[in-house]
């Protein structure tokens, strides 16, 4: 119980500061509505169902981008991690594209996939995949030597060592990669909805609300995006606690 009390201090403080700022007019309340108005607006958007279509669209894109990134990134990461030489040979490419802002890649992907959902999903999948590859490979390469040695002495084959030791050793780092990747997917999808354009999507709603000066609306959708991002992250923490209970022990 105490854990949750502590965890709630941060959000409560933020809402309080937000409330004070608006209350004492540090920022014009036209540009920053008070927390209550924003939350009411969000509830209204959800209960009336207006936002549901956008929510589902954005979520679908994120899920698809993340799925593609995982399906390609996990095996590739494991494979590259098995041989440090192999990883070093492509390290430059991974680090280069990992360091390139995904938004800068929009034009390239638009040329390839056109102004469709495909290009949004492809950019997000590409960037997330690099994060997954990077983390998974590092997890494999930095596996503790003592356990590998123990298995070697028992007469384990390379494949057995990979399946029973290296794969498991890499999991904690892999999960860090997956968690970062899911957050990044959401970021890129929302940004791409703003700039590549779409009919349905939270990014589009935020931009529309800004252009038409429906400010409470804009903040409500921003809040909703944040909540989704947090819940996705939280989901991974739960999965991690359940399956990686042994991590670091």
């Amino acid at each position: 119980m105490k854990k949750y009390t502590i965890a709630i201090i941060g959000p409560i403080s933020l809402i309080f500061v937000w409330f004070i700022i608006v209350k004492f007019q540090f920022i014009n309340s036209f540009f920053l509505p008070d927390p209550l108005t924003t939350i009411q607006k969000l509830i209204q958007l959800l209960t009336s169902g207006i936002i549901i279509g956008d929510l589902v669209s954005t979520f679908d894109r994120v899920a698809l981008a993340f799925a593609i990134a995982s399906v390609i990134g996990l095996p590739l990461g494991l494979f590259l991690g098995r041989s440090e030489k192999l990883y070093r040979s492509v390290e430059f490419l991974i680090d280069f594209f990992r360091s390139t802002p995904a938004t800068a890649l929009f034009p390239l992907f638009l040329l390839i996939f056109g102004i469709t959902d495909k290009s949004k999903i492809a950019v997000a999948a590409f960037s997330s995949m690099l994060i997954i590859i990077f983390n998974t490979s590092y997890g494999v390469m930095h596996a503790r030597k003592s356990r590998i040695l123990a298995a070697k002495i028992m007469g384990a084959t390379k494949m057995q060592i990979f399946r029973w030791i290296l794969f498991w050793e890499s999991l904690p780092q892999t999960f860090i990669g997956l968690r970062s990747a899911v957050s990044l997917s959401l970021v890129i999808i929302v940004v791409s909805e703003m700039f590549i354009g779409t009919n349905l999507g939270l990014g589009r709603r935020i931009l529309d609300a800004q252009i038409t000066y429906e400010i409470p609306n804009m903040y409500a959708v921003i809040l909703l995006t944040g909540i989704i991002g947090y819940l996705l992250n939280f989901l991974f923490i739960i999965i991690e606690k359940r399956f990686l209970h042994w991590s670091g022990k």
Partner: protein
């Protein structure tokens, strides 16, 4: 004269500038517990690591009769790091047999055999990190003997244990030894441990390492706590200590 299992001839090994073995030779007899006792840095662990293929020699040769990974086990000093935390205690113990493609029933049967022999109780569905250091070491020990190895290397297995668990593990080791008669090489810093367990005690010199003397230990197995208190024990211990004193110029 019993059979020789392990032969080492003119072994050479240096680590950067430090010469550990210059022209080192020794034989180990089959079916005996041989303790290797010597000053720090005299290459006790290095010898085991060279023999098991973990590190390469610089020169000379060695031979282990009928060496086979499936009939060989090595208990490391850092047992905690050689257990697999994502596997349950049972799955940890089962690993060497899984590597040999044994099926679940065979593994189960073998675990039960050892359980009977050692009379221990384990929560097999728990995880190693839930165990105390002593229990973890017993787990690592069971994992090492589950394959019924003909050759067993042990590198200071008991050094991190409290005295009670230390004695308990020595008892287990003797039980196992008397039942299966493997060749055991035991590296130790602890003179009492060496005399308690070994039939032959090899005393190493300082670097570059030579064998100063091999001491016979005629005490009857199983050696109990009573044996530790006997005068025969003290005789052997005094002898080892005198030779060790010479080797270290203490």
């Amino acid at each position: 004269m019993s059979d020789i299992t392990i032969t080492v001839q003119s072994l050479k090994k240096s680590f950067s500038e430090v010469e550990v073995f210059k022209d080192f030779s020794i034989d180990f007899e089959q079916g005996k517990i041989t303790a290797i006792f010597g000053p720090n840095g005299s290459g006790k662990s290095t010898l085991l690591n060279i023999l098991s293929g973990i590190i390469a020699k610089d020169g000379g040769r060695f031979d282990i009769k009928n060496f086979n990974h499936f009939e060989f086990s090595y208990i490391f000093q850092n047992y905690r790091e050689s257990l697999l935390p994502w596997r349950t205690n049972f799955e940890n113990v089962a690993l060497p047999l899984e590597i040999q493609n044994k099926n679940k029933a065979e593994i189960q049967q073998r675990v039960e055999e050892l359980q009977k022999l050692f009379e221990f109780k384990f929560n097999w569905n728990g995880y190693p990190y839930q165990l105390s250091g002593g229990q973890q070491q017993i787990l690592a020990f069971i994992r090492a003997v589950i394959t019924t190895p003909k050759i067993l290397f042990i590198d200071e297995p008991f050094s991190a244990l409290d005295y009670e668990n230390n004695l308990r593990l020595r008892e287990h080791l003797q039980k196992y030894y008397l039942m299966y008669k493997p060749t055991i090489l035991l590296v130790t810093h602890n003179i009492e441990e060496a005399v308690h367990l070994a039939e032959k005690i090899v005393v190493f010199s300082q670097r570059p390492t030579e064998v100063i003397e091999i001491i016979d230990n005629p005490l009857q197995y199983p050696r109990t706590i009573q044996s530790l208190k006997s005068s025969g024990f003290d005789v052997v211990k005094d002898k080892v200590l005198s030779i060790f004193q010479k080797s270290t110029n203490l």
